[in-house]
């Protein structure tokens, strides 16, 4: 937490294009996954109940909505903001755009932990699509930590 605060107080050095593209691809996967669940929600289609999956339990639970908004739609917005942020960085090379975009992955990760807890300990069922989004969200958070630790301007560099 202290590290995160310190990282956000300092500027970021330019990050190689390939790193930004990797982040973009992961966010794209998360966007596709969350879009799938959102479309399914608004089409009113409930996936069949399978012997090996509890997807329908998760997707029809009271936790699948926040203030009436499907969690998957919040996921779409989250990944869309990340995509636009990373893409804007690739376009403009302005590092503050990447820094604040990556900072958002922290909130995504907190959300991921909460929903994993709900699936494991409250609903006792896992939805493979939700786990897919948890994976992309976690990867983006780990990527953000790596970028911050490697590319944040340090005192030595600043001097």
């Amino acid at each position: 937490m202290t590290n995160l605060k310190r990282w956000l107080q300092r500027p970021l050095q330019p990050v190689p294009l390939k790193v930004a593209i990797i982040l973009l691809v992961i966010a794209l996967l998360g966007f596709a996954d969350a879009s799938y669940l959102t479309i399914e929600h608004y089409r009113g289609v409930i996936p069949p109940c399978s012997v090996v999956s509890g997807c329908e339990t998760v997707l029809t639970s009271t936790y699948s909505k926040v203030l009436g908004i499907p969690v998957s739609l919040l996921g779409v917005v989250f990944y869309l903001v990340l995509l636009v942020g990373v893409f804007a960085y690739i376009d403009t090379k302005k590092t503050f755009l990447l820094k604040w975009t990556l900072a958002l992955t922290f909130f995504g990760f907190i959300g991921t932990l909460w929903f994993l807890y709900l699936q494991a300990f409250v609903l006792h069922s896992f939805c493979v699509y939700c786990l897919g989004s948890a994976a992309t969200s976690t990867l983006l958070f780990m990527g953000a930590i790596w970028v911050f630790s490697k590319y944040t301007v340090t005192d030595t560099l600043a001097a």
Binding site: S35, I46, C49, L80, L83, H124
Partner: protein, 220 residues
């Protein structure tokens, strides 16, 4: 903003739109049933049958679970179909309570206990129509709710309570489930039309077309 950057952003937006559009198109197609390796067992005297009484009509067999949200979402479609095509389609309900649904087996037993007093389809409707009221209850509370339904249906409650936990009722449900597992049914609802597994339709029109098309082609 120069032209190159505009193209850059337009391409980005097009990729996102294509992803969403591709998903919408792909998801509009009916879900394919996988893993089913045989035909549904023949309809027998112990089956729960509604609709047409003749054996020469189209037979729709549903493997279902009273606590399954997807089965509940198909319930109004099945009801509508049976109200519109009750002379040309016969519906057969078979049990497939899934282990992740804590009250599904108890609900199936409640329907069988009601069946022994001639009220299977009434209990079937009450269970689906009120699924949200009992799906997350404890075993004891669910029993109380189901007893309430039995009372509502004017069942002999003493007999109902005894049948609910009887070995005969439990084995009746296991028999449905074992037969389904033997042919590879692994999800609910799974529909068979004239013995053959069909893709789960997305809309009522698809559903009706699927069943009634078979009705016109089924052999006596």
């Amino acid at each position: 903003m120069n032209t190159k950057r505009i193209i850059f952003w337009v391409c980005f937006a097009i990729i996102l739109i294509l992803i969403v559009w591709g998903l919408i198109v792909a998801m509009g197609k009916p879900v394919t049933q996988t893993g089913i390796s045989g035909t549904a067992p023949e309809v027998t005297a112990v089956d729960h049958v509604a609709g047409a009484t003749s054996t020469s009509v189209s037979t729709l067999i549903e493997y279902s679970d009273f606590q399954c949200p997807a089965c509940k979402s198909y319930y109004p479609l099945v009801e509508k179909l049976m109200s519109e095509a009750s002379t040309t389609v016969r519906l057969v309900y078979r049990h497939y309570p899934l282990p992740q649904h804590q009250n599904a087996l108890l609900a199936a037993r409640a329907s069988e206990a009601a069946s022994l007093q001639g009220k299977f389809w009434d209990m079937y409707r009450l269970l689906f129509e009120n699924q949200e009221t009992w799906d997350e209850l404890s075993d004891t509370s669910a029993r109380n709710v189901f007893s309430g339904y039995a009372e509502q249906l004017s069942l002999d409650l003493t007999r109902y309570a005894a049948d609910l936990d009887s070995a005969a009722v439990k084995s009746r449900i296991s028999a449905d489930q074992d037969a389904a597992q033997a042919i590879g049914v692994n999800s609910t609802p799974t529909f068979f039309v004239n013995g053959k597994a069909v893709v789960t339709p997305s809309t009522y029109d698809q559903f009706k077309a699927l069943v009634t098309a078979s009705a016109t082609t089924s052999t006596p």
